[in-house]
């Protein structure tokens, strides 16, 4: 029952997926800015900061792409 209601909510309003997508992106941007601030402000090694940034944003881009194309596929 509960999953069907959940699914029905999305089928009735596919835009809900976009709302969730942009909400998650918003929180991701805020959180990432906080992380970047701490790395740049307090890290004593530029190389470590660079490596951490590359891994973090590299992985995040992959996941965000999956989210994006999943929403596209769902909404149609």
């Amino acid at each position: 029952m509960i999953p069907k209601i959940f699914e029905n909510a999305f089928l009735a309003s596919p835009q809900m997926a976009w709302y969730i997508f942009w909400t998650v992106i918003f929180f991701f941007v805020v959180y990432s800015l906080i992380l970047l601030y701490h790395w740049m402000r307090y890290s004593e090694s530029g190389a470590v900061t660079l490596a951490a940034s590359l891994v973090y944003f590299g992985g995040s881009i992959v996941l965000i792409n999956i989210m994006f194309f999943s929403v596209i596929n769902f909404v149609g």
């Binding site: 699914e7 701490h38 890290s43 996941l63 999943s70």
Partner: protein
């Protein structure tokens, strides 16, 4: 990062042992596949609720969307934990020890104590893993306020203790020498 004074130079930057980080990362890593496993178990199953029979099934696109959202949340959490680990440091200079502790994102505690104030340094290694992986706690007792500084879970505590005592001896000798020259 650190304001060094005069002829002060950094001798060593100490962070917690990698195993301590791994323990903290373990919970989010274990939590990552749980929703997928749960869905795997209940999908396709039929449940009787009241007079109705329902089955659990989500469109594949929706499934991959929520899976990616969950993975992104866990990914962010992992880097938050790593950041907290990376910013907790003991900086040992030729003049003092600076204890930097990052408590969450918006609390940062920095304390320092001068080498000549160090009275006692003890180490503590508890457990089989700590013994095999060579990590433990260091307690530094300082003069004056009888304050104790502790850093937990650091690698090779015995070597660090020797380094601290060596630097402390150098500073004390230097201080005595300066006082002798003045006197």
């Amino acid at each position: 990062m650190l304001n060094l004074k005069g002829d002060e130079i950094i001798k060593k930057v100490v962070r917690k042992h990698w195993f301590v980080l791994l323990l903290e990362l373990a919970i989010p890593i274990i939590a990552l596949p749980l929703p997928f496993l749960l869905y795997d178990v209940v999908s396709g199953q039929e449940f009787v609720i009241g007079a109705k029979t329902v089955s659990v099934a989500l469109p594949e696109a929706l499934l991959s969307f929520f899976g990616a959202v969950w993975a992104l949340i866990i990914w962010m959490k992992l880097f938050g934990i790593w950041t907290d680990y990376y910013l907790d440091t003991w900086v040992i200079t030729n003049k003092r020890i600076v204890d930097i502790e990052q408590k969450g994102f918006f609390r940062r505690h920095t304390g320092s104590f001068r080498m000549e104030r160090i009275q006692d340094v003890t180490i503590e290694i508890n457990g089989i893993l700590a013994t095999l992986l060579r990590f433990g706690d260091i307690h530094v007792q300082t003069a004056g306020e009888s304050r104790e500084f502790v850093i937990k879970g650091i690698p090779k505590p015995k070597r660090l203790k020797e380094e601290i005592l060596r630097q402390s001896d150098i500073v004390v000798e230097q201080t005595r020498s300066d006082e002798y020259i003045k006197g």
